[in-house]
Amino acid sequence: MAGAVRGTLVARRRRELWLGIVVLVVLAALPFGVGNAYLRGLIVLTLLYAGLSQAWNILGGYCGQISLGHALYFGIGAYTSTLLFTRLGISPLLGMFAGGGLAGFAAFLVGLPCFRLSGHYYAIATLVIGMMAALLAANWDFINAAQGITIPFHGESWANLAFRTAILPFHYVMLAYAALIWFVAWLIEGSRWGFFWRAVKDDVAAARSLGVSIYPSKLAAAAISGAATGIGGALYAQYIGFIDPDSTLDLSLSVLIALPAVVGGIGTLWGPLLGAAVLIPVQQLSVAWLGSAAGGIDLMVYGALIMALALARPEGLVSFFHIRASRGATGHG
């Protein structure tokens, strides 16, 4: 009997891991089939958002705490690694982990008061804190205020994670990032913490009755989610070569981090990647075609697409692929 008990859940997790490896190989080979530099850039950005949204999903999807302030952790990661590099000469390879650590700590601190709030107030509180942080950063001279920081370029270098002429290295940097955060989510899904977090999301009173501490669970999920987001911010800074509060701390970025997971399938392993694969190209193309100066028409196009997706597939894009799961759900008797 014990063997049968292990069966389905273990098998499902193993299948996910194999699928992850196959997808990783396919994505690693992708640049060889795509010659166009613009398209390659689009793919790099998509991979970055796949990782960022998976980071958001760790807190929002698995633990059910909807954050609308993740740009704060992104910005902390971006600024930390950039300042460490420009002021102290510390490689972004190290700086991104310093940024991630600081961002994780910030997410923990934000959680301390905000997880005392119930329900949707957490989302609202993170939104307000994120906007206040953006405002402060735009007026903080130590970090060059609204002017932003340009990352000096001393030649192509893996040691400094600096590449200007070729997009290819960043393809692999962002792919490694997305794969790492995916793997973290996979580990969480099978772990004690992951079970506790999903219990917290589904029903707090029932979770408590089984000995699950709600507040520490949320704080741990927030810290890991924030840290993973901060690493992405540092990588973004290296990719673009310039950061300012507008591009790293804005509310629209918080939304852009959350949306792929929401559209793709919240609380699922593949939702963030699927969502990013649809949303990021659409968002970039609508900006390119309509122009960001066109009074926010790009946002309207984007918003309309999200609405259409949400209406057609409330469980997210992953539900297109759920033949197997739904067969399991109805296949008794």
Partner: protein, 242 residues
């Protein structure tokens, strides 16, 4: 009889102007099945929530296994060995049956293989093996009750609180539910059962405590309870909406 497993004294709790529990006291011996009976609104669920740590009493003491537990919170109560179900079923609906029960098993298990093994045992014990890998939301109401019991058992409780687990079941389902309760007791787990329909409970319990309007009316063996005039009056009063 040695020290009781659970002893409550002078428990009172008000919600606004509603006195849900007034000066309640009784003891439960290890291995006993105690019935907590009373019409709707008598304060049974409120008392359950207090014993399970979900809400703190305004006044009173609760000793569980020699330790004072009033107001220590649901998480600490679960750790000490108090398991419970809810009157309105609370399943983790984004998870399968196995995953639901694993959450409970993780209270005592660090590694997921151990939690899975423990969950498998309890699922089989509760007769849910054929439903192990279906999402919890697709279970029938009686199956959901069993799932809640399995989840609580996975935490290895010493005391199990069952809130109206037989309510709304067909006679056959209720029979199966009562068998399950006896099997749980046979494992050495002490049980307090809430039921507002007295008849179904009487053959199952060793002793009953009757609540009415927040107060303890009486306690005693099932045979004494049914003969008591105040019990009859309380139930008739409830039935005719007095």
């Amino acid at each position: 009889m040695g020290e009781p497993l659970l002893e409550i004294r002078g428990i009172s709790k008000s919600f606004g102007s509603v006195a849900a529990n007034v000066d309640i006291g009784f003891a439960v011996a290890a291995g006993e099945i105690l019935g907590l009976i009373g019409p709707n609104g008598a304060g049974k669920s409120s008392l359950f929530n207090i014993i399970a740590g979900e809400i703190a009493p305004d006044r009173g003491e609760i000793r569980f296994a020699g330790q004072e537990i009033a107001g220590i919170g649901a998480v600490a109560c679960a750790r000490l060995g108090i398991g419970r179900t809810f009157q309105v079923v609370r399943s983790f609906d984004s998870m399968t049956v196995l995953e639901n029960v694993m959450v409970g098993a993780f209270l005592r298990a660090r590694r997921s293989a151990a939690a899975m093994a423990r969950a498998g045992e309890v699922i089989e014990f509760c007769g849910l093996t054929t439903r192990r890998d279906v999402p919890a939301h697709s279970l029938s109401p009686p199956e959901k009750r069993r799932l809640e019991i399995a989840r609580a058992l996975a935490t290895r409780p010493r005391l199990l609180l069952l809130d109206e687990m037989l309510t709304g079941l067909t006679p056959t389902e209720a029979q199966a539910g009562m068998r399950l309760v006896r099997d749980i007791r046979a494992q050495g787990i002490t049980i307090i059962m809430v039921e507002h329909v007295m008849e179904v409970l009487l053959p199952l319990i060793d002793r009953a405590v009757v609540l009415n309007l927040g107060r303890k009316l009486l306690e005693g063996a099932p045979a004494e309870i049914v003969r008591h005039p105040e019990v009859i009056r309380a139930y008739l009063g409830d039935r005719y909406g007095g």
